[in-house]
């Protein structure tokens, strides 16, 4: 049998260690190198962990992600030069999905931006965080301070029972609604908690000092609803939720319009422009993209994965599958792909080829599994 553990992203050279490393190992996690760190890929098995998160609550260690804080006079203007988001209208304790863009309108990273009393808190991807910091510093005036909060760990607790379990330890979190955040306290440990996540489930993300992470994770897992979940299930959960993964579904050659992330281009910013990449992006938006990111139901059970060919082409350029796998919730093969925009409507038939084998697929609306976010007034 060929080695199933080989992964081009694995690289043992200077692989870093995160605050919960020993805790994961003690709990029987299988560790792999990911985004430059040793990370748990699974505990009991991806399928079981996935379904546990969909029905109860999973604890994810995402401390590899970059946590940044920007502050100083003119920070709003500075952020609006880099991001297509309406930063000015973002109220304290509110968060927004946004994108770091290059001059040609390509996506350098996707991120969450939250306005706090002490500045703008940004969570960026682990594999891109140092490039992001360099890019941000290149585009910042001297008056703005960028703090890489690398002394902070980041945990996510996700699932239908996540908030009730967390609220027993941190009373008050239940009052947050989706895409809001606030400061909390656990036995004197300062916590920054948002009601957000990357699974499509209700839940929270918790930023806390690295030295407190193990005790907090241990305490959370004492709640019967909560089990630690590895990166494997994190990937299958986000795929079912239709959420793109940077470096796979998004990259510097892909624009927000092609990636179907138009919601990240706020109305005022579309009208005013003035952010990096605005001209090519707004022109593409007006003309319509050639390709578009869509969800696919693939016939049968066999996964089609990143790199599989989409045989439908425009001017000789084929589409491509950027994420794909077996959906544990739906028990069928699903994928994200870039297809010609004329075929991006649900119901369009798509032909895929992987390792010489053809697969029939059909465009479907995403998410594949409905989001369970708890919104204001719900």
């Amino acid at each position: 049998m060929s080695d199933p553990t080989s992964d081009p992203e694995m690289d043992d050279i200077e692989t870093g260690t995160l605050p919960l490393d020993a805790w994961h190992r003690a709990r029987g996690a299988r560790m792999v190198a990911f985004a430059g760190y040793h990370m748990p890929i699974q505990y009991d098995g991806i399928m079981a962990e996935h379904l546990w998160t969909r029905t109860s609550a999973g604890l994810f260690d995402v401390s590899h992600m970059g946590q940044l804080l920007l502050s100083g006079d003119g920070v709003v203007e500075a952020l609006e030069k880099m991001l297509p988001a309406d930063v000015a209208s973002l109220g304290e304790g509110r968060m927004r999905y946004s994108l770091l863009l290059n001059e040609t309108g390509g996506i350098l990273d996707d991120l969450m931006l939250t306005r706090r009393a002490d500045g703008y808190y940004m969570v960026v991807n682990g594999a891109t965080k140092y490039d992001d910091i360099a890019h941000i510093l290149d585009n910042l005036e001297d008056e703005i301070t960028l703090n890489h909060m690398d002394e902070q760990a980041l945990l996510a607790v996700q699932g239908p029972k996540a908030v009730e379990a967390l609220a027993r330890i941190v009373p008050g979190v239940e009052r947050l609604v989706f895409m809001t955040a606030g400061a909390f306290d656990w036995d004197g440990v300062p916590l920054w908690i948002s009601r957000s996540g990357y699974t499509g489930e209700d839940g929270c993300e918790i930023s806390l000092p690295a030295e407190a992470a193990e005790a907090f994770a241990e305490r959370l897992c004492q709640e019967p609803e909560v089990k630690p979940i590895g990166l494997g299930a994190r990937d299958s959960l986000r795929l079912e939720a239709g959420l793109p993964l940077y470096g796979h579904d998004l990259d510097p050659e892909t624009s927000p319009v092609t990636a179907d992330l138009g919601f990240a281009l706020s109305k005022r910013r579309r009208e005013e422009g003035g952010f990096l990449g605005a001209e090519p992006i707004l022109a593409e938006r007006a003309a319509g993209p050639l390709f578009k990111r869509v969800g696919l139901f693939v016939e049968g059970r066999q996964p089609v994965r990143e790199g599989a060919r989409v045989l439908e082409a425009i001017d000789g350029v084929e589409g491509r599958v950027t994420s794909g796998g077996f959906s544990p919730s739906l028990q069928r093969s699903i994928a994200m792909a870039y297809v010609p925009a004329v075929l991006a409507n649900p119901g369009s038939k798509i032909d895929i080829e992987q390792r010489g084998k053809r697969f029939a697929a059909e465009v479907t609306a995403m998410p594949f599994v409905p989001h369970q976010y708890v919104r204001k007034g719900a």
């Binding site: 049998m1 060929s2 199933p4 890929i41 991806i46 399928m47 059970r301 996964p303 077996f326 544990p328």
Partner: protein, 126 residues
Amino acid sequence: MAFYFTRDHEWISIDGAEDSTATVGITDYAQAQLGDVVFVEVPPAGTTVDKGKEAAVVESVKAASDVYAPVSGEVVEANAALEADPSLVNTAPETDGWFFKVKLSDAGQLDGLMDADSYKVYCEGL
């Protein structure tokens, strides 16, 4: 009944005389490495497989892996149960989760394969 094992984590069982058929599957060690198996493609009866060449595909949630034919010969039966329930590879890798049966073209190919004890030692060294 004799069991043989390969360094690529396939098993071969021979029932009766050495010119009879061999049943092929992947080992418990292999299924544990793969994780949850969601799809198996086995060669249909009548296919000729060559020792060391790709004969089957097994897909887990994580990754796709090729299964190499541990011996050469003609496939006489594929395990149809795997199509409906690929998780048999996880739950019963060395019994009900077998992949295919092959009529050996060269029983000499069994020479040099490991027995259960040698394979156990081999896995412990990985």
